[in-house]
């Protein structure tokens, strides 16, 4: 198969961080237009240590940023609206949109916390590893406000973690890196309402062989499905799915204990495993922690106990 990689490269901002005087932005016709922004020269030369930006400082910046960017997106200019992008003129509109989005991030966030981003560029120290669904509505950076540097993240269909014995998966490599190299202190698995992956799992008929990737992947949640069917036979299909969404989170937490380097750290109190459930209809969040001492994991059956359960509405 032959194809060419058309290297029509749009370089949004190529300035070195050290060159603070001016930035150039490229418009879609490839002209350069000098564009200067207020420079934070004091932070560029300061050698004082700055503490990690507190979340509420990010939150205050975010409020201004969110207000500005939502306003832009709701404006008359269709180029800024992703959903109207197709009508706005295809490729050029897309490049223009992504350029605008990146510049918005750079001006409202990156330049305002430059020293922090410079430190981050040398190393990351996330306290969390987060496993969340790929669903466009549930990014943990939005719903839990994780800022750059805070959370190492896996996103896959239905936020599933397979057992170690199931062999290589996208998840295993990331888990190994986060736990053994980054040495995160918390792993948080976040499920959500109306998860199509879980619904798919609940609909699979055992005696019908499926050729779909989706079905093959979501069967990693089979134990949760069996538990759900046993516990909720009297409930509607929608209610069973809700139950399974939460049960699969716990199954994923237990599956993580099948990795010896995770189990060792949890046993010695260096790593905590948490579950979270986001309901995007009612905008509520439930959070709990796996009580390792109450869990049993073996080939025939496993059981779990949870603690520190909270519900936020």
């Amino acid at each position: 198969m032959a194809w060419s990689i058309r290297s029509r490269v749009s370089s949004f901002l190529g300035s070195e961080v050290g060159v603070m005087g001016s930035l150039f932005h490229w418009d879609t016709c490839w002209r350069t237009v000098p564009f200067s922004v207020p420079t934070n020269s004091s932070s560029a030369v300061s050698s004082r240590t700055r503490p990690w930006p507190k979340f509420m400082n990010w939150a205050r910046m975010d409020s201004c940023y969110a207000a500005a960017s939502f306003k832009e997106k709701q404006s008359e200019n269709k180029d800024t609206d992703v959903r109207n992008m197709a009508e706005a003129g295809g490729e050029h509109a897309l490049f223009g949109l992504m350029k605008q989005r990146f510049l918005s991030f750079k001006n409202h966030k990156y330049m305002k916390e430059l020293e922090h981003f410079q430190a981050l560029s040398k190393a990351q120290y996330p306290k969390f590893m987060v496993i969340a669904c790929a669903d466009s509505r549930v990014c943990p950076s939005n719903i839990l406000g994780f800022q750059p540097g805070e959370a190492f993240m896996i996103r896959n269909i239905a936020n599933l973690v397979p057992l170690m014995k199931n062999g290589p998966s996208e998840c295993n490599a990331a888990l190994e890196f986060a736990v053994t190299t980054l040495e995160v202190e918390n792993i948080l698995v976040i499920g959500h309402s109306s998860c199509a992956g879980i619904e798919n799992l609940m609909k699979i008929q055992e005696d019908v062989e499926s050729r779909s990737f989706i079905n093959k992947w979501v069967t990693n949640g089979n134990v949760a499905k069996l538990r759900t069917k046993a516990a909720t036979a009297h409930l509607s299909f929608a209610q069973q799915c809700r139950f399974c969404e939460k049960e699969s989170i716990n199954q994923s937490l237990l599956n993580m204990l099948s990795y010896p380097w995770i189990e060792d750290k949890v046993r010695s109190g260096l790593l905590s495993l948490h579950g979270g459930y986001y309901n995007f209809s009612s905008c509520t969040f439930e959070k709990w922690t796996l009580d390792f001492n109450g869990c049993t994991v073996n080939e025939e059956s496993s059981s779990y106990v949870i603690k520190e359960q909270e519900f936020w509405s």
Partner: protein, 279 residues
């Protein structure tokens, strides 16, 4: 081998100073003496050491005041989201509760510094996002790596996204790990090296054309070449190929450089022209 690989990965992208095995002893004075000796021998580690010491100082200052409470942190984050975004945009979130129709599918690295919701300001509902080590897309394969196949299948056939963007980034630990695998192929990790070898063609290409360039320059090239390998792998999925040929789907590569504060974006151009008779 295990320790050297771990050390390699740790120098790349973690905040943790070497493990206890590498330190002279557990006391503060012994630790500082060991660090000074190391820096005398390896002056090039000076700036990295400075960054880590700065962070350690900040962590200890913070730890001295209030210990980190993960529950409080996520609670604060959720309360802020609910108040500043959810409650201020009821129409948007009302629609999203009924269903999603994102125009983008994004492959991004799991690295904590490169979430596309920040870098490209994706709002709820805009992008179906898969995140894994080094933002890799394995080729079509029914038995292994079904998670990627599942995500692509769902995005292309069910959500009918119009664009798939694979975003690489600077200082990628996964790519550095790929470039650090010895030529004899011996691996030390359980899963990481096996995963990153998906982009072996990128490593071969970079090493083949490396000349005198430094290891870090080679890694920077590999970050972008690996994106192109992933774009090529996307085309091995029949439903992706069909959507691209019928112009319903565009494949794009991107690279976010958080050192320079820059972002590059490019297209994968793939088409099949109508046959022309040679008679």
């Amino acid at each position: 081998m295990a320790r050297s690989f771990k050390k390699c990965m740790m120098l790349c992208c973690t905040g943790k100073i070497s493990s206890k095995e590498d330190m002279a002893g557990d006391s503060y004075d012994d630790a500082i003496a060991a660090l000074s000796d190391l820096l005398k021998d390896k002056a090039e580690l000076g700036s990295l050491a400075a960054a880590k010491i700065k962070q350690l100082t900040a962590d200890l200052e913070a730890a001295g005041s209030t210990p980190f409470n993960p529950d409080d942190r996520i609670r604060t984050g959720f309360d802020h989201f609910k108040k500043e975004k959810f409650e201020k945009n009821p129409d948007l979130f009302g629609e999203l509760a009924k269903g999603q129709s994102p125009k983008f599918m994004v492959f991004a690295c799991s690295d904590s510094r490169v979430c596309p919701s920040h870098v490209l300001d994706f709002q709820p509902g805009e992008a179906f996002v898969v995140r894994n080590i080094a933002n890799m897309v394995p080729p079509y394969e029914k038995t292994k790596y079904a998670g990627t196949g599942a995500a692509i299948e769902y995005a292309v056939l069910h959500l009918k996204v119009e664009n798939i963007v694979v975003i690489g980034h600077s200082c990628c630990g996964g790519i550095k790990g790929l470039m650090s695998i010895p030529d004899d192929g011996t691996t030390a990790s359980d899963f990481i090296e096996q995963w990153v070898q998906i982009c072996n063609p990128a490593r071969s290409k970079v090493k083949g054309g490396a000349g005198d360039s430094s290891f870090s320059d080679q890694c920077a090239s590999c970050e972008k070449e690996a994106v192109n390998v992933s774009l090529g792998n996307l085309l091995t999925y029949p439903f992706v190929r069909e959507a691209v040929v019928s112009k319903k789907l565009a494949l794009k590569g991107a690279h976010y450089d958080f050192v320079k504060g820059s972002f590059e974006l490019w297209d994968l151009d793939f088409k099949v022209t109508p046959p022309v008779s040679l008679l």
